[in-house]
Point group: C2
DNA sequence: ATGAGTGCAAAGGCTTTGCATTAGG
DNA sequence: CCTAATGCAAAGCCTTTGCACTCAT
């Protein structure tokens, strides 16, 4: 009668921090700096370091994963994430599997995308739908919502299944 | 620097338990009974009562909302939900807003649908996309995933915005 | 009778917060 | 200098669990 998936074993493959992509990352830092500055909030080393990690990741990360990559204590990580979330620079959510929270840079910084979520190892990777599909979907969603006088702000699509790595391990 | 939305005030409008729809509900009980029986699990009064509430709701409910509608103690609610989740009769997830968990009957019982999630009051309501849009999306998703050797199991689409009630209150 | 199910209260585990210290402008 | 930011440890809060009791078969 397993109540909830075991959290400790759920990390799956280690969190990837891929190749530099220096220009893109630099641009993100710039945007974050500007935004925080406008908000009268300091862009300190600790905050810059976390943004760097999030910018290089190709996927939303958990606090545990961030901790493994960041040297900052948990409380600081949570606090920095809260600051960035308030500034709408970071998006926080929890996977369908209802494990712990995951964090990613806001779409304003990374562009609109969706997630491939592996039901086995829990990892998520970013994906982008073809523009025409996205348009089609967007129009349908707006129309549908309007019927209920619901004003659409955004949509989030998660694709759940089994990732290649987990499939290979079987 | 609001870290997380305040949980206590988030209930929003009270959880709706709409008109009977007796036949549909009866069918759901039937399906649940069969499934649990196959699993060698008893369909007790407490469990039946919870399923009844979920079946009548037009939306995923939190434990707090279930509690308000159910008379059973929290621990039993959580335990019953865990049993139903294990039997794949209930789906558990947490809203983008990262509040507490929400529960709904599995799509096997209710049919495939998506959610209109109000960013203000936190309530969610079920919606269905036109079949052609759903098809278009489904094909694109499968294709996209295949490129990464990701095997799609299902997809979940949440539409975030402001519900009519909250819009009126402004 | 006998094991599954239920209730209560206590424990767990991710997340938040108070307070003293450090660092940024 | 002076306020914002950080670190540590303690507290919070949703959720889970141990144990005794009850109910269904």
């Amino acid at each position: 009668m397993s109540p909830r998936p075991d959290r400790s074993s759920e990390a799956g493959q280690t969190a990837p921090v891929s190749q530099p992509d220096a220009n893109l990352v630099k641009g993100i830092h710039q945007a974050v700096a500007t935004r925080l500055n406008d908000d009268g909030v300091r862009y300190t080393n600790g905050r810059r370091a976390l943004v760097e990690i999030l910018a290089r990741a190709r996927q939303p990360l958990t606090v545990e994963e961030l901790r493994a990559l960041s040297a900052a204590p948990q409380s600081s990580i949570y606090r920095i994430l809260a600051v960035l979330e308030d500034a709408e620079l970071v998006h926080r959510f929890t996977n369908t599997n209802s494990e712990f929270a995951r964090f990613e840079l806001a779409e304003g910084l990374t562009g609109h995308h969706h997630h491939l979520a592996c039901a086995n190892c829990g990892t998520m990777t970013d994906v982008t739908l073809p523009a025409d599909v996205e348009d089609h979907l967007d129009r349908a969603v707006t129309l549908l919502a309007a019927q209920q006088r619901f004003v659409v702000d955004e949509h989030r699509l998660d694709i759940i299944g089994t990732c290649a790595t987990c499939a290979d391990l079987r």
